[in-house]
């Protein structure tokens, strides 16, 4: 059965390594913070200028001066720090953040990503996404395998304006974990109960399928 958003977040949380600084984008990526594996300690950075983000505040304790990059009210953990946006992107550009998780509209088999603009329809802007994808050593895209029209978002080549080129290494969807290597998608894991055939049928890009494709353990 295909994963729900929580399932995608849980699977991505398995990628976390002890001691990592992590930047989570808006949407599914934000949920990853709820499923940090036991024994793993990570710190969350938000690009507006905070390290050591904690959970949402209790009702009535919201501080308008304390938000994350999604403009949500948040709290801080012990050991947190605040800084300006130039320093924040110094951390990102300088590769001090070990993992970036973000959503996408399209990903291509050479690692291109598009997530900021649909010409003639939507232009919200790239925010920090272009800096993040151009800089992070380790980018995981969290997204649905297909768009609402049922078209694959896992493509030979992106059709939308790009956010970054050749930067995505791993994609986690409701159906599968894919790695991008040598200009192709590689099927690493499938969601519990999801068939390899379904994944193949919903993937437009070139997909390398090994003989045995393990199921995710969540």
């Amino acid at each position: 059965m295909a994963l729900d958003k929580t399932g995608i977040a849980k699977r991505i949380a398995q990628e976390l390594q002890n001691g990592w600084y992590v930047n989570l984008g808006i949407g599914i990526p934000t949920l990853v913070a709820n499923y940090i594996p036991e024994g793993i300690e990570v710190e969350f950075q938000s690009e507006n200028g905070i390290l050591g983000m904690g959970p949402f505040p209790f009702e009535g304790e919201e501080d308008p001066d304390l938000i994350n990059a999604g403009k949500q009210t948040i709290t801080v953990r012990a050991g947190a720090s605040f800084f300006d946006s130039a320093t924040s992107f110094a951390m990102i550009r300088g590769q001090h953040v070990q993992l970036t998780v973000l959503g996408a509209m399209e990903v291509s088999q050479n690692g291109d990503i598009a997530n900021w603009k649909i010409p003639g329809k939507m232009v919200k802007g790239m925010g920090g996404a272009m800096d993040l994808v151009a800089s992070a050593e380790n980018i995981i895209v969290a997204m649905m395998h297909s768009n609402k029209a049922g078209e694959s978002k896992i493509l030979k080549a992106c059709t939308l304006p790009l956010t970054g080129v050749g930067c995505v290494r791993k994609v986690v969807t409701e159906l599968a974990v894919l790695e991008i290597r040598d200009g192709k998608f590689h099927l690493i894991e499938r969601a519990p109960g999801v068939s390899v055939e379904e994944i193949i049928s919903k993937t437009e890009g070139d997909l390398v399928v090994p003989e045995f494709v393990p199921e995710m353990t969540l």
């Binding site: 905070i50 308008p64 304390l66 938000i67 300006d84 925010g127 272009m130």
Partner: protein
């Protein structure tokens, strides 16, 4: 060196039609509310506003958009604003979108006398069009220019009479770099104290970057995305 002016009107004196303004804040967090209200009252037109976001329909820079005072927005993210979208799609409003980190660094560069720098952000995208590309350590980078403004308007938590500023939490965001990059920088603060009150070791923006300072009368501090959890 006393930089205190008595009110927003005195602070914003000299801002004229067609000027370029930097306005601090991220979303509605850390925006100079009192100065924006004053700008609306002044009715200054054809402004170019450099600001990470464009406010919401009825708050922040959205108020300037409503009053059609803005000719061009230079931002990284402009969602959450219907009037903005309408003006942009109709061609009334010119928009230049810049990656957030490049925007922050370009403001800092403008204030720091660095005319241009290389960054990997935006390589291979629309943002790179017309820009020089150069490979460093095997990785392509694009050349970005510094940004400056006729006036920078920032918001701080505490400030002293010499213009030293301390921001609070994530309300710091773009304010320090914009304070550096304004030909004239105006700071509105929640609390204005005499010089010598703030610890010199804890100043976020040294007074040298600030030309005028005033204590804002009222800060609404609207929350854009109120997210909470319930007590167990």
């Amino acid at each position: 060196m006393n930089k205190v002016v008595k009110d927003p009107a005195a602070a914003l004196e000299g801002i004229q039609d067609g000027m370029t303004l930097m306005v601090g804040g991220f979303g509605l967090c850390g925006i100079p509310e009192n100065s924006i209200a004053q700008l609306v009252q002044m009715g200054t037109k054809n402004l170019t506003c450099i600001s990470n976001n464009a406010g919401v329909d009825d708050f922040g820079l959205g108020l300037l958009l409503q009053a059609k005072q803005v000719k061009k927005m230079v931002s990284s993210y402009v969602g959450e604003n219907d009037e903005f979208e309408r003006q942009m799609l109709s061609g009334e409003l010119e928009v230049e979108l810049i990656p957030q980190g490049s925007l922050a660094e370009r403001c800092r560069a403008g204030g720091a006398g660095i005319p241009a720098f290389f960054t990997p952000a935006g390589y291979g995208t629309e943002v790179a069009e017309g820009k020089e590309v150069r490979v460093f350590n095997g990785k392509p980078h694009i050349l970005e220019n510094a940004l400056t403004a006729d006036f920078a308007i920032v918001k701080a938590w505490k400030g002293d009479t010499e213009g030293n500023l301390i921001y609070k939490a994530t309300a710091r965001n773009f304010n320090p770099m914009m304070a550096m990059a304004g030909k004239i920088t105006i700071a509105e603060v929640e609390e204005l104290v005499p010089a010598g009150t703030l610890d010199p070791n804890q100043i976020h923006t040294p007074g040298i970057f600030v030309q005028r300072i005033f204590q804002g009368e009222k800060f609404e501090k609207r929350i854009e995305q109120r997210t909470v959890r319930t007590k167990q």
